[in-house]
Amino acid sequence: MIKLNIPISEEDIRKLKVGDEVFLSGIIVTARDQAHKLMVEEKPDFIRDFLNESVIYHCGPVVRKDKDGTWSFVSAGPTTSIREEPYQADVICEYHLRGVIGKGGMGEKTSQGLQKCGAVYFHAVGGAGTLIANSVKKVINVFKLDEFGSPEAFWVIEVKDFPLIVTMDSHGARLHKEILERTKKIAKEIS
């Protein structure tokens, strides 16, 4: 198990390989479909400092607002990443990201972006909403909450020991692609 703290250097991220299990700590940002569209079309600066050498998390959390106005995460597993495929590589390079967390892996364009700009794809366990919410220690800020709604907003959060597995690295390896090739052959045999 590798412990990784944000900010992450390019050198450290390039050491990671597919299959590595990681505990991630530091300040990260959630972003889904509307947020990615915005980051590519308008390149907003309000989120820039939070993203530099950090990580985007594909997640639409269940959140709670306490009486004193502070927010907390109740359930926060990953959402399907492939929906961000048209945007992801551009977002990685524009905002100097070191990684993306999601589920299901991503495509060729994102893989190129990871290789070019020095980042990896971390896979979280889909459906493990309560467990992951327990690793979110603090909600630092939220942007676009009224406009996008709570699942789609940018939530800036501090995480401690978020359990992840690298499934796309900065050298072009992609776990889901390898499994797909293998399983296609088996499917032919059993059909």
């Binding site: 639409g60 959402t79 589920k103 459906g127 493990a128 309560t130 467990l131 699942p151 293998r182 059909s191």
Partner: protein, 288 residues
């Protein structure tokens, strides 16, 4: 107890308390994986998460899904009565964070914030002759719903004809295509026959069977067992990381079809298989 309160409890249970049959199937799958593999590590996280969600009474998955209700009610009841109770319960469940707000206007993309929208929650009504009410609920996550598919036989690309061998081929294709998405290991519901709409309805209704509950039709039961064994040979594994369990069960059922049509609808649910049921009889509420 008021109906609204009983439905709220049904929603809470569905979102936070995974049914025992599903948890047992996941435990079995965990035990089949070797120490030190990503598959074993994923199952470990899943099992821990199931227990934490139950203990904390928080959603096991943040995507608390679309709410789909099936109501069987006796003669004399009105749909309006149940619909109003469901709407109130859904709003309250959202306020209590048992549900994420998941009803989005398709034109404006505005989230209603309370899970109420046009046709949301979706309610299937059926009148029956029993002197009791049955309310069944599925919380159907978006990722798993997106990998559902409907095939029209014959399908020449898959060499699938209009017979059970052809049905088998399209089910294998659907599970192959769902890999990495939809949060495997999944549970597969299949509807054979009907029209475009009813084939999907039949496929989803299968989700109320218990894990291991076979179709009473011997031919279909055989198809289910064969598919369960073969689909697990694919090696897709939890989250598509590779592993011994790709599906937790396969449920198939049939209905009549038009002579010219042969639809096979395949619905997929993730391991977080959130379906619960309750019966109301003489003011007494029994949850499954």
């Amino acid at each position: 107890m008021e109906l609204r309160q009983s439905i709220l409890e049904l929603i809470r249970k569905a979102s936070t308390d995974l049914s025992q049959d599903v948890e047992n199937a996941i435990l079995n799958a965990f035990n089949k994986e070797k120490e030190g593999t990503p598959a074993r590590s994923v199952f470990n996280t899943i099992i821990e998460n199931i227990r934490m969600a139950r203990e904390q009474s928080t959603p096991m998955c943040q995507d608390t899904g679309a709410l789909i209700f099936y109501i069987d009610f006796p003669v004399g009841g009105t749909e309006k009565f149940y619909t109003e109770a469901i709407h109130e319960a859904a709003k309250e469940a959202t306020r209590l964070q048992y549900l994420r707000p998941n009803a989005v206007d398709s034109i404006t993309s505005k989230n209603s914030g309370n899970n109420i929208g046009i046709n949301a929650p979706y309610i299937h009504f059926r009148q029956w002759n029993k002197d009791e009410v049955r309310i069944q609920l599925i919380l159907k996550g978006g990722g798993s719903e997106n990998v559902g598919s409907q095939y029209k036989l014959p399908n020449s690309a898959l060499k699938a004809g209009r017979d059970l061998a052809g049905v088998r081929k399209v089910i294998i294709d659907a599970v192959l295509n769902a890999q990495g998405l939809g949060c495997a290991p999944g549970i597969i519901g299949v509807g054979i026959g009907g029209d475009r709409v009813t084939s999907y309805i039949l496929s989803k209704e299968q989700f109320f069977r218990k894990i291991g509950q076979r179709n009473p039709n011997k031919l279909l039961a055989g198809l289910e067992i064969g598919l369960y064994n073969d689909l697990n040979k694919l090696g897709i594994g939890p989250m598509g990381f590779g592993g011994k369990t790709t599906v937790l069960d396969v449920f198939v059922n049939t209905q009549a079809r038009h002579p010219a049509s042969f639809f096979v609808a395949i619905s997929y649910t993730c391991w977080a298989f959130r379906r619960k049921s309750m019966i109301i009889k003489k003011q007494e509420v029994i949850y499954d």
